[in-house]
Symmetry: C2
Subunit: 545 residues, 2 copies
């Protein structure tokens, strides 16, 4: 047992300290968030990635609580996985709790997990930790950070935040509580670094109201707005505009519909019942009385916008005169497919507005001036930049240096790197082995980089296989079976197959007398033959019967 | 034979009218540029893409000339392919000609192709076309657009341009010639749309001098600057800084070294011989006397920066104190791998500067105000936005409308869509079938989407194959051979293989008496078995002997 305070970011992949964080003192651990990450383009076949919490597996009895900052996927998406292992209550504000319940229900764990509803102004004792949530503004309501008073000192964890002075729900960040923390003295601030490379202030959600008002005023045809399923405040904004300009609202895409339903039930989304219509009813109204909200801002082929772009939506078809709005940011790695989706919507006759050409989206994360304000508000002894790629954390550290923080008061760490406080001295430990856990089909953590590399080789070069029967005296019996995929068009493959058969016959003749093994010589010869003919190096496999 | 003027953008994939353009009148055709495109992330295994010029194949005798605007890959990269089919002279300015020669030499065509060196101020008669190049500023010297006087009217093609008033080589765009075209009356302007979504003016190459001056002044250790191999002006800028601050310069990465050598020979790059050192000599000098220029700004794993980031460069290793500069823009689709490379360089202890956090790169393309200026300078009857994705062309059209152009004076067309002028009336024809031509290994155009889709299936799900020998009476003889790749880790695959064998034995017992074919029942059963065990749907193939 260690009587120092330890802070350990778990999770992996670029986004450091975002998806899960462990705070440990004595024999008590609290966890903050349990989010998923999205696979990068070269992580072939991977569905999602969850934090690697192997470190916790022999300490599960010590986990006292899971605190959730807000209901976005990268903060709650892995809760269904985590709660199979962890037996501790989840603490969340009402809307966040609603979103967590949806996850637990899908994981068939809702009955087994204790959920504690917290209020942003409350104070909660969990073991020897005192938890004080504080309201922050982001792109979903009911978002909090946490003040965590430990026997070793006060830790402040911002969660995702920006300082929006005019948020859609009228509830700005809780500056008073942040100032109160500062007055008491803060040992360490763990602060969101997502936009550390953006100068200035992030715009308020209110500024996009103007852009939406203009487009609702001017659009003659239908208006189709795509955004993230969980940006409740954006759904509210669009619903308000639809009401103002006399349009019915249809919400489509399962996740958005579920979230909207839950948020309405809990009172976080205010849409009059008579305004809402089903997507099937859209055709019953004139174009200028229709507004549709949909999923698919990242160009996902199976989401609504992806299907509309390819003309594959069963109940809706883009037509000339439609105004389509991408009210979201293209996540790095998705730009290509997002822009392809936008181009296809233009091709189908829609007028498309997106972040680059219209103010239809603002970030939910603090920019540089807000990050400086947060540091100056909280005045921690130590800054631990979290939520971002390493380059963002480094830049966050640069900002703190501009405020006079010396490098030894800033800990830029990666996931899996424990930070420990001996008294108020900060020690950075060696990074622990581990990384991400791939979720792939039915498997969680069953596959690793070696399989992804196999897939990559198949993806780049395909495979080529031959099943050969020989008589052990230098003759091929019958015709070899040859199967290939992903090398060249089937229509062009006759020459390749005939040539491969000749190659096999030649090798068997040369090497196959006296029952000598010929699989390796055949494989080598086929490798050379396929490369000479196609320039490709597929996975070649030979079975000799 | 058609006595109307026709304009036809060839090429494909997002970037419209960029890689090749055909101008046709009577029985004469001239081509502008022959560039390559880079495959998108989901075009698995594809090396590059070249324009689809099937349309020309039965008209090759009519091609009078190939005009080249400048020496970047997306404008000259396919010249080695094109000149295997086309027998016509290439017209290019001296530096561009040098870069074209490199391509032709690699394609073993240098002896067979006539090259005509043109000057930016000259006038050239080619058949019934009068060609007047005009100087434009971009990110490579010796860059031109073309005025093309045809019997039907004057066409102006901007090529890639921005209006840089303080270019590194001291030669601004030729406003006089543009004004002269305007005076004569321009039928159609074909203008670069790349940055149509950027407001304002693109910064001059000169503004990044300040950022470089600051970093050269402050850096204590080595400076490593990565940029595109063909941005000669950036190489000049960095060389000037190295000279100013007493650093030796090593240029590494084959393409950059080749380009620099050629540009120095032709007088477009001015670096004193005694300043240049080989990468192997770097260790002979103190850190603060070293500057290295390298390739790999797009995170390409085999280029210098990619190898340095992974610690895989044979002659150079990143060390603490190095300043690394990414002096380039991450091309959409590459952001993820670029940022991963940057993060890894940070991990290795380098301080990394890149476009988002420092002024170390400016675009080579006009922003909105420059695009408006171009239109107002040339005052064409028709605007045909080119060089961009459809969304950029649409936005370029919006800008023209702001200048008072009515929609019927703007032709937003996609590659493969011919535009024809009947007198001065513009007609947009149906888009011709065709698309991109994939270059894949040794094949050019041999493979299409079907193979890419096969690769995608393999990449997402892998494959699973079984070779089964039966006695035709319901028994399996010996052990089936089972080969799988890309499904699960080999270490975990024993259960899968054993279960598959049981499945095969069961199906053969059930279906295989009386020599009934069992391959399809086995395949169906294996499909179900693999999906139940892994959640994956690989390509399953069964051979029954």
């Amino acid at each position: 047992m260690n009587n120092n305070l330890r802070i350990l970011p778990l999770g992996g992949l670029g986004e450091i300290g975002k998806n899960m964080m462990a705070i440990e003192y004595g024999d008590e651990i609290i966890l903050i968030d349990a989010g998923i990450m999205f696979p990068e383009n070269d992580m072939l076949g991977i569905d999602t990635i969850i934090p690697d919490y192997k470190y916790l597996l022999d300490k599960l009895d010590r986990v006292q609580a899971v605190l959730i900052t807000h209901g976005h996927e990268d903060h709650v998406g892995a809760i269904g996985h985590l709660m199979r292992d962890v037996d501790a209550p989840i603490y969340a504000t009402p809307l966040t709790r609603g979103l967590v319940e949806v996850k637990l229900r899908r994981a068939k764990l809702l009955q087994d997990v204790e959920l504690v509803t917290i209020q942003a102004e409350g104070t909660y004792q969990i073991g020897s930790f005192t938890i004080e949530p504080f309201r922050v503004t982001h792109s979903i309501p009911d978002c909090v950070g946490f003040g965590i008073t430990t026997p070793a000192g006060l830790i402040v964890h911002t969660g995702d935040y920006k300082f929006d002075q005019t948020p859609i729900d009228g509830r700005p960040s809780d500056f008073a509580r942040l100032a109160e923390f500062s007055r008491r003295g803060v040992l360490a601030l763990l602060a969101d670094s997502t936009n550390a490379d953006r100068p200035g202030w992030t715009g308020s959600e209110a500024i996009i109201q103007d852009a939406f008002d203009k487009l609702f005023r001017e659009a003659q045809g239908r208006i189709i707005v795509a955004t993230f399923a969980s940006i409740i405040s954006r759904i509210q904004l669009v619903a308000d505009m639809a009401a103002r300009y006399g349009r019915k609202l249809a919400i489509t895409g399962r996740s958005m519909r579920d979230n909207a339903k839950m948020a309405r039930k809990l009172g976080y989304l205010n849409i009059p019942e008579e305004m809402l219509i089903d997507i099937d009813q859209v055709a019953n109204y004139p174009n200028h009385e229709i507004c549709i909200m949909a999923t698919g801002t990242q160009g996902e082929p199976s989401a609504v916008m992806g299907r509309l772009a390819r003309g594959r939506h069963r109940r809706l078809r883009i037509k000339k005169g439609d105004t389509v709005v991408f009210s979201a940011h293209a996540i790095p790695g998705n730009e290509e497919v997002v822009y392809r989706t936008i181009n296809r919507l233009f091709q189908r006759g829609a007028h498309v507005l997106y972040e680059k050409i219209a103010n239809v989206h603002v970030s939910g994360h603090a920019s540089q001036e807000e990050m400086k304000l947060m540091i100056n508000l909280v005045r921690p002894k130590y800054l631990i930049p979290v939520h971002g790629e390493l380059r963002h954390l480094k830049q966050h550290a640069e900002l703190a240096k501009e405020l006079g923080y010396s490098p030894n008061r800033i800990a830029v760490i990666e996931n899996g790197t424990p930070v420990e406080f001996e008294g108020d001295k900060l020690i950075i430990h060696e990074r622990m082995p581990g990384g991400y856990v791939f979720v792939d089909g039915a498997g969680v953590g069953d596959i690793g980089w070696s399989v992804v590399r196999e897939r990559d080789q198949l993806a780049q070069n395909g495979f080529f296989m031959a099943v050969v029967t020989t008589n052990g005296r230098g003759d091929v019996i019958g015709q070899p079976d040859i199967i290939s995929r992903g090398i060249i068009d089937m229509a062009e493959s006759d020459d390749l197959i005939e040539g491969a058969k000749d190659t096999i016959a030649r090798v068997v003749r040369q090497h196959g007398a006296n029952r000598k093994p010929v699989d390796k010589p055949i494989r080598d010869a086929l490798n050379r033959f396929v490369y000479a003919g196609t320039g490709k190096r597929p996975f070649v496999h030979v079975i000799v019967k």
